[in-house]
């Protein structure tokens, strides 16, 4: 194996620290997320870290692929600052409103367009949509094997892959061979911090923006039109409870809690 060509799927998402301020417009029923700062999806930084480590080990090249509106470019460039070599932004009005399958078609088309790619790494889930579908669906559309929720990964010089996939009470060990799509779980590594030299280098790294036509996709297969799922109404779940404040010294507070435990039947 002569170096690894790795694509990393990265999604710019609104900063999870701000999700509490997301509103639904009462008139239109649409999410109001203007003004929320964008970040690279947290799990994708773990995917990128895995890619950078693999390339440090095997040599090769890391290209990020992202489907996002043009204004997300600066966020994607943060991945270049972390160490990726190149970024492809797949951007077209026609991509709007995509569900995971329509998203995966576009991403897969981008990866194909990139040409030879040994390994596709993705985060295991996004912070906003959070379906955790995309890694497997990209794998299916590309017609290559795929695994997600991977906490440990080893690739040898003969392109054999060994991986651990997280399960409820442990993990399953899986073996396969490249090419493969892998959804990286947070547990796999700790992403590096972005360094100042990294930021400077990022400014000159190649960035490509591709649309529907460049990817040779049928408009009916992408965006809302190409999505088998269709969204309905949005709402905000009501979590609030009528909190009663307990006051007093620790001993008194504990006494009240014991009484509540009794009345709720967990203490006799």
């Amino acid at each position: 194996m002569k170096g690894l060509n790795i694509s990393v799927l990265v999604k710019p998402v609104p900063d999870p620290g701000c999700y509490e301020s997301i509103q639904i417009d009462p008139q239109t029923g649409i999410l109001v997320r203007e003004g929320l700062p964008n970040i690279l999806n947290p799990a994708d930084k773990h995917a990128l870290e895995a890619a950078l480590q693999l390339v440090e080990q095997h040599s090769g090249r890391v290209v990020m692929v992202s489907m996002a509106p043009p204004n997300a470019l600066e966020t994607v460039k943060e991945g270049l600052a972390m160490g990726a070599d190149e970024a492809w932004l797949l951007s077209d009005r026609a991509f709007a409103g995509a569900d995971t399958l329509a998203t995966s078609r576009v991403l897969a088309a981008g990866i194909k367009k990139l040409g030879l790619c040994d390994l596709v790494l993705a985060g295991s889930e996004s912070a906003d949509g959070g379906t955790a579908h995309v890694p497997s669906q990209v794998g299916e559309i590309l017609g290559i094997s795929h695994l997600t929720n991977v906490t440990w990964l080893n690739i040898d010089t003969d392109a054999n892959v060994r991986a651990r996939m997280k399960m409820e009470n442990g993990y399953i060990e899986v073996e396969g061979a490249l090419p493969m799509v892998i959804g990286v779980s947070r547990g796999m590594n700790v992403p590096r911090y972005t360094s100042l030299p990294g930021i400077l280098a990022a400014q000159d790294k190649p960035v490509k923006v591709l649309g529907l036509n460049n990817l040779g996709l049928d408009p009916g297969s992408v965006g809302l039109a190409g999505s088998p799922t269709q969204p309905g109404k949005l709402s905000r779940p009501e979590l609030k409870r009528q909190g009663e404040r307990l006051e007093g010294e620790p001993a008194e507070l504990a006494k009240r809690i014991v009484a509540i435990m009794r009345s709720s039947g967990v203490l006799s």
Partner: protein, 381 residues
């Protein structure tokens, strides 16, 4: 005046530093203050990421960027830990004098390790007899048998016990008019006769060590002289304005942002009369004032620094920014404590620390009086 925006790379830098600070510094900010301890491991990490050596040219292992980028780093650090930011800020003050006045040999010798944060720097001017009065320094340097012998005591020196490389000014003679003239020396930690003395128990900007340095027949070779004999004061004052005051100004902007953000958070969360106090008009006015102080300080600070980066002479603009920002930080911290009621004085909240830090920024790099004198001097000239 042109539109005031940062470049995409500067924005990216801000985000990167913010992430680092939120993960590595914010969680220990309270501890740094409570224990008055400087987390040198965090400093080294910032060095490895290129943050400590931001203004050092690439050929000496730095990032080769300007004071604007440096101010972004200091502001973000000071947002959660102004005391620790002070360590970084003074490190860069030490770097600045080497950078601007060092010989090629001196730069090659010291800058790479300072830029990467493997070593910590400092600049020692102030003495018991002379802070504002720079000419009042009493420490001396005498040339004996080709060696300089330094004697005296410095005080209020940031990084006094941790600094590996310190630039020290001492009186080395008189000028043509018979006034004392000073020279600067590069002294390394561990040089015989050079030792840190007592550390001040500061009530603000804790987490940066500030203390005495004593010179006791400390010997320095002629290669330790920085920027030529007799140029010490000029160099130190220039560096203190260019890097020291701009740094203090940026640190104050960080404190101001802390006040604004903590005030907003508290006002939204604290419920009185059945609704968040943010709905009370009196509280809204306090928030508005915090916003105005923050915005004004930010504009003055980055404006002055921008002028300096562009190569202008702008001591008065820098003094204006430093004077306004440090005083505004004090006002904003006090205001934020007021809007928090009793919670403001409890150490579970960081705002009391912000007030103490803000107060301590005022003398550092020159007092508000002195800043006003610089401003007035240039205005009346």
């Amino acid at each position: 005046m042109p539109e005031f925006t940062f470049s995409p790379a500067q924005e990216m830098l801000r985000k990167a530093v913010r992430e680092f600070v939120e993960k590595e510094i914010e969680p220990i900010a309270h501890k740094i203050d409570a224990e008055n301890s400087c987390p040198m491991d965090v400093f080294r990490k910032m060095g490895a990421l290129g943050f400590a050596g931001v203004i050092v040219p690439k050929e000496y292992g730095g990032a080769g960027l300007g004071l604007t980028e440096r101010a972004i780093i200091l502001e973000e650090t000071a947002r959660h830990a102004a005391g620790f930011a002070m360590t970084l800020m003074t490190h860069q003050l030490g770097i600045e004098v080497l950078l601007s006045y060092g010989s090629e040999e001196q730069k090659r010798k010291y800058l790479p390790e300072l830029a990467s944060g493997k070593k910590l720097g400092g600049l020692a001017v102030t003495e018991p007899s002379g802070g504002s009065d720079v000419g009042g320094q009493q420490s001396t340097g005498e040339l004996k048998d080709g060696k300089w012998v330094l004697n005296g005591r410095k005080c209020f020196i940031t990084n006094s016990s941790e600094a590996d490389v310190c630039v020290v000014t001492v009186r080395t003679g008189e000028d043509a008019k018979g006034r004392p003239s000073f020279s600067a020396f590069i002294i390394e930690k561990g040089t015989p006769g050079f030792a840190p003395g007592r550390e001040e128990d500061k009530f603000g900007l804790r987490g940066s060590g500030t203390g005495d340095l004593s010179l006791n027949n400390c010997q320095a070779g002629e290669d330790a002289v920085l920027g030529g004999v007799g140029n010490g004061t000029k160099m130190a004052l220039a560096a203190i304005s260019k890097v020291g005051r701009t740094g203090m100004s940026a640190i104050s902007v960080g404190i101001l942002r802390g006040c604004l953000e903590e005030g907003v958070r508290f006002a939204k969360e604290r419920v009185l009369y059945g609704k968040p106090i943010a709905k009370l008009q009196a509280i809204q006015l306090e928030i508005a004032r915090n916003r105005v102080d923050y915005e004004a300080a930010r504009l003055l600070t980055y404006y002055a620094i921008g002028l300096k980066d562009a190569g202008g002479s702008c001591d008065a603009e820098i003094a204006t920014a430093k004077y306004f920002s440090t005083e505004a930080a004090v006002r904003a911290a006090k205001r934020t404590m007021d809007l928090m009621g009793g919670y403001g004085v409890v150490n579970d909240y960081p705002v009391g620390r912000y007030l103490r830090d803000a107060l301590a920024t005022i003398p550092s790099g020159g007092t508000s009086h002195v800043m006003q004198l610089v401003i007035a001097g240039q205005t009346l000239a």
